[in-house]
């Protein structure tokens, strides 16, 4: 028997031995991938292919009918789809941006500044990593009611901004920034804010990208806030509207529309991740809880 050489982690180039691994994970990859291919195909199927018996997996004559119907459906319901899109864009943009600003600021303080209660706060945040938002949906609802934020954009936005996972990853990443660099800036007379803005922020771009993507994934598909805190139809988000469409249409004809709706929700996520995946992997390398 040949001597075992140890597996090579992160090989530089493709070798024959890797084919075995690919074959081993292929069935699972197909299981993960097929539903996504299916939703792509389904969204572009014309009516007769949706009704086809036996049902077909792939689309043969793609059309945009389902997307057209999706937009018409919203016109007939009184609130134009542009309203939902507008709401979603405002909410998503605000949450992502504020989440980045707040996590990086807090991460900087937790990583590089000295103050009382620092280690307690870090412990509390580490505990909060295991926070399951759905478990407190009732008290959250009561809190938002008490604060008078019902039917307000703030009800979509504020509960999602503080993300323990995001702060945790950002803080771990800032830990990697060499202290000598920061010391030098202080020597030159920079204040804390200057250090945060001109040293920390430029150096932690991968962590910022990751924090952006995590916030985006939460807020973009969030239906809980529209469901529980918002009664005014015109204040609800695209995710909510798409979700009602998807759930209301059980007839086969509606399936195409529902698939188109799901696709519209999914695509921005996918594109964002493909663009930022290098930064995300870079950040994840520092994600360990010690």
């Amino acid at each position: 028997m040949a001597m075992y050489k140890g597996s090579s982690i992160n090989p530089k180039k493709f070798e024959k031995g890797q084919i075995k691994i690919i074959i081993a994970v292929l069935p699972l990859a197909l299981f993960m991938l097929l539903p996504i291919i299916f939703i792509f195909c389904h969204a572009f199927k014309p009516l007769d292919e949706l009704f086809a018996f036996p049902p077909k997996f792939f689309v043969t004559r793609p059309t945009l009918d389902n997307f057209e119907k999706l937009f018409k459906a919203s016109q007939s319901s009184g609130i134009p789809i542009s309203r939902y899109v507008f709401n979603s864009l405002i909410v998503t943009f605000t949450v992502v941006l504020s989440s980045i600003v707040l996590s990086t600021m807090a991460g900087f303080a937790l990583s590089k500044l000295r103050f009382k209660g620092k280690y307690v706060l870090m412990e509390v945040n580490n505990m909060a990593l295991m926070f399951v938002p759905v478990a407190v949906m009732i008290p959250r609802y009561l809190t938002i009611n008490t604060l008078g934020m019902t039917d307000n954009y703030l009800a979509h936005i504020l509960p999602l901004i503080s993300m323990p996972v995001s702060l945790f990853l950002v803080k771990q990443f800032i830990d990697q920034v060499p202290d000598t660099l920061i010391d030098a800036a202080y020597m030159d007379g920079a204040g804390d804010f200057k250090v945060y803005r001109s040293i920390i922020l430029p150096l932690i771009r991968p962590a910022i990208a990751t924090s952006a993507i995590l916030a985006f994934q939460q807020v973009w598909v969030n239906v809980e806030s529209s469901n529980l805190y918002i009664n005014d139809e015109g204040m609800r988000t695209l995710a909510f509207y798409m979700n009602t469409l998807a759930n209301a249409n059980n007839a086969v004809a509606g399936q195409g529309v529902a698939a188109a709706a799901s696709l519209i929700m999914f695509i921005p996520n996918l594109i964002l991740f493909i663009i930022l995946q290098k930064s995300v992997m870079n950040t994840m390398a520092h994600s360990g809880i010690k």
Binding site: L113, V132, M242
Partner: protein, 302 residues
């Protein structure tokens, strides 16, 4: 602990609180305070209209002794679901990360994207997809396929059949479980020191399995723990899919009723907020126990 010049700076104190306060204020209002309210409400009877009435441990006692649905359906469903999706999804994520780490960059990135993408939607947006696949008449995709293969003769009403709902939920949850934790473990393995692997081979590690147990896992314990916590949270956070798939709460014959649905049922359908809060506290407790166990398992020994 490392002490540097920065950490000795005097004015770090005041501005540190300034940097922290925006995050902390929102953190307390929407995470800490709701948890405290949940605990307080769990000792009361509260119908959202009248002021909560203190009842001591009555809700908890009722939950254990009176709530047949909880004991007979919700708890066993949750345990089964959580055990398969939690540890199952976690082990799967680790094995996949381990396999992918031994590929070169391009195939690795493509495969990682394939495994990660289902989790991006959080399961919710994709419910419609599973509804179409498991659609209950003969034009449903799964029914049609199984009938063609001769495995079944009559179409099965998958999503409202009490026998199939929970297994389908588990499959869907596993499908979308390769999330942040999976990426963290992949990055953790890739960051490992290659010379350790070479040294281990010389020192007598003779196969992949040994290598995985003695080298890979010990060198990436912190990532393993992060992955475990993310797996636990994801498992319980995804608990609403049963209601989404079957389209009703309670789910048919309580077959897909998980603890999260039970909270929603009592809180927003029956408006027994005190009781629902007690169930929430139990859920938070379960998550905490699981996370603590994982910490024991992967704690770095100093």
């Amino acid at each position: 602990m490392r002490r540097t010049k920065i950490s000795k700076r005097e004015n770090g104190n005041k501005s540190a609180y300034l940097f922290l306060s925006p995050y902390l204020i929102l953190f307390f209002i929407f995470i800490i305070i709701p948890m405290i309210i949940a605990i307080l409400l769990s000792f009361t009877n509260f119908n959202t209209i009248q002021f909560p009435e203190f009842k001591g441990f009555l809700n908890y006692i009722n939950l254990i002794t009176q709530d047949e649905i909880f004991m007979q359906y919700v708890l066993p469903n949750t345990v089964l679901y959580a055990l398969i999706v939690g540890p199952g999804g976690y082990i799967l994520a680790f094995l996949l990360a381990y396999a992918l780490s031994q590929l070169s960059k391009i195939p690795r990135t493509i495969l990682a994207l394939i495994f990660y993408s289902p989790s991006m939607t959080g399961g919710v947006a994709m419910t419609v997809l599973w509804k179409i696949i498991f659609s209950g008449d003969q034009t449903g995709y799964l029914n049609s396929l199984l009938m063609k293969l001769g495995i079944i003769t009559e179409p099965v009403i998958w999503l409202t059949d009490a026998r199939y709902l929970l297994p389908i939920m588990i499959v869907v949850a596993l499908w979308s479980s390769m999330g942040v934790g999976f990426l963290a473990m992949l990055a953790g393995i890739l960051n490992g020191d290659e010379s350790i692997y070479e040294a281990a081979a010389i020192d007598g590690v003779t196969n992949r399995f040994q290598e995985m147990i003695y080298i890979t896992i010990p060198t990436m314990k912190p990532q393993m723990l992060f992955g475990a916590v993310m797996a636990i949270v994801g498992t319980f956070q995804n608990g609403l899919i049963g209601v989404q798939l079957s389209g009703s709460n309670p789910t048919p014959h309580y077959a897909g009723q998980l603890i999260v649905n039970h909270i929603e049922d009592y809180g927003f359908i029956r408006y027994e907020m005190g009781y629902a809060a007690a169930v929430s506290v139990v859920l938070l407790g379960i998550v905490w126990i699981f996370s603590t166990l994982s910490k024991r398992l992967f704690a770095e020994k100093d």
